[in-house]
């Protein structure tokens, strides 16, 4: 290596949790992505967001209930059982990272993330959708059905 910087630092870019979620959403056909800015601290937003039993039915229209069935040693859910309005059940695996969370069942996938944008200002992102073969072809048909207005419903919880 021929370093002209005298050993000083080369700049390294950062990928915050919301940008990271955009990558996952863009790479997942059959899903839609939404994000908005909320007037609350990232800790407040993330505490609400990770109450998955309350938030998942709010974010995804096709989920009536979301019950955590297993958690890790820190208490974060790693497995859950979702029920659709028609009684169908789906087991979700959940992976947590710093202010982000991704989950998938056999047929559904979803993720959420939050990044501080300033003092008591947070950018929140969510994506969700189908995970089935050929979903690219029916993409547009299913989007509104899955989580129309999801982030708006989420953000409404922080308004007085």
């Amino acid at each position: 290596m021929n370093d002209h910087t005298g050993g000083a630092a080369w700049p390294v870019a950062e990928l915050d949790p919301v940008r990271r979620l955009r990558v996952l959403a863009a790479a997942t056909p059959g899903t839609t992505y939404g994000e908005l800015v909320i007037d609350a601290s990232v800790d407040e937003v993330w505490t609400v967001a990770t109450d998955l039993e309350r938030q998942m039915p709010l974010l995804i229209n096709d989920i009536r209930s979301f019950t955590v069935t297993s958690s890790d040693v820190t208490g974060r859910p790693v497995e859950a059982l979702a029920r659709s309005p028609f009684g169908l059940r789906a087991r979700f695996d959940i992976v947590h990272r710093e202010q982000s969370c991704v989950m998938q069942s056999r047929f559904l996938v979803g993720g959420l993330a939050a990044t501080a944008e300033g003092h008591d200002v947070t950018r929140f992102g969510f994506f969700g959708g189908l995970r089935i073969p050929g979903v690219r072809l029916v993409d547009r048909v299913f989007h509104p059905f899955l989580h129309h207005g999801a982030v708006e419903r989420f953000a409404a919880q922080f308004r007085p």
Partner: protein, 182 residues
């Protein structure tokens, strides 16, 4: 967030790290397993961020995001998982140059003031000096001096003739030395 944080120079992925068997993870992600995609994203992000930072500078986060989107949207096209890092490198450099060039068109020319010599903040200086170079010159410098590729590999990756690589490298290094020693 659109920041670029100067850090100690991260070593390139070692031979061992590159030889890590990412094959099963890549194949799971190609089949649509989003938890595998999530895990693979974790493995690739530091490498892509290290390439995009010096080329796209303040737009490094945008470039990193765009490069990773391109990587994961096209992952099914990767036939041989062993070629993953070389394939990712080509995409990351191309996206970093594209994002940096697009951003440069929006910048006022007077931003290119040379920092005072002897500035103790070396990390900031590196960014300032890099900012004096065009995105193409930065890409050549990064591939040769940070990634350690030879001119033939750089030429193939950037799709330009070897003499052009040599010229860009010569000019980039000369410019770098000049600004650095000013």
């Amino acid at each position: 967030m659109t920041t670029v944080t100067p850090t100690s120079p991260a070593p390139p992925p070692t031979t061992t790290a590159r030889r890590d068997d990412l094959g099963p993870l890549v194949r799971s992600a190609q089949r649509g397993d989003r938890l595998a995609t999530d895990q693979l994203l974790d493995r690739l992000t530091p490498y892509v961020a290290r390439l995009c930072g010096p080329i796209a500078l303040a737009d490094g986060p945008d470039a990193t995001q765009e490069a990773l989107i391109a990587v994961f949207r096209n992952l099914r096209q990767l036939k041989e998982p062993a070629a993953l890092f070389g394939w990712v490198r080509a995409i990351a450099v191309r996206e970093a140059v594209r994002v940096a060039r697009a951003a440069a068109r929006d910048l006022p020319a007077e931003l290119a003031d040379v920092p005072a010599s002897g500035d103790p903040q070396l990390a900031a200086d590196v960014q300032d000096v890099l900012a004096r170079l065009s995105p193409h010159h930065r890409a050549v410098l990064v591939l040769r001096d940070l990634e350690g590729l030879d001119e033939h590999a750089v030429s193939a990756l950037l799709g330009v003739p070897e003499p052009t690589v040599r010229t860009r490298l010569f000019r980039a290094r000369r410019r770098f030395r000049k600004e650095w020693e000013a």
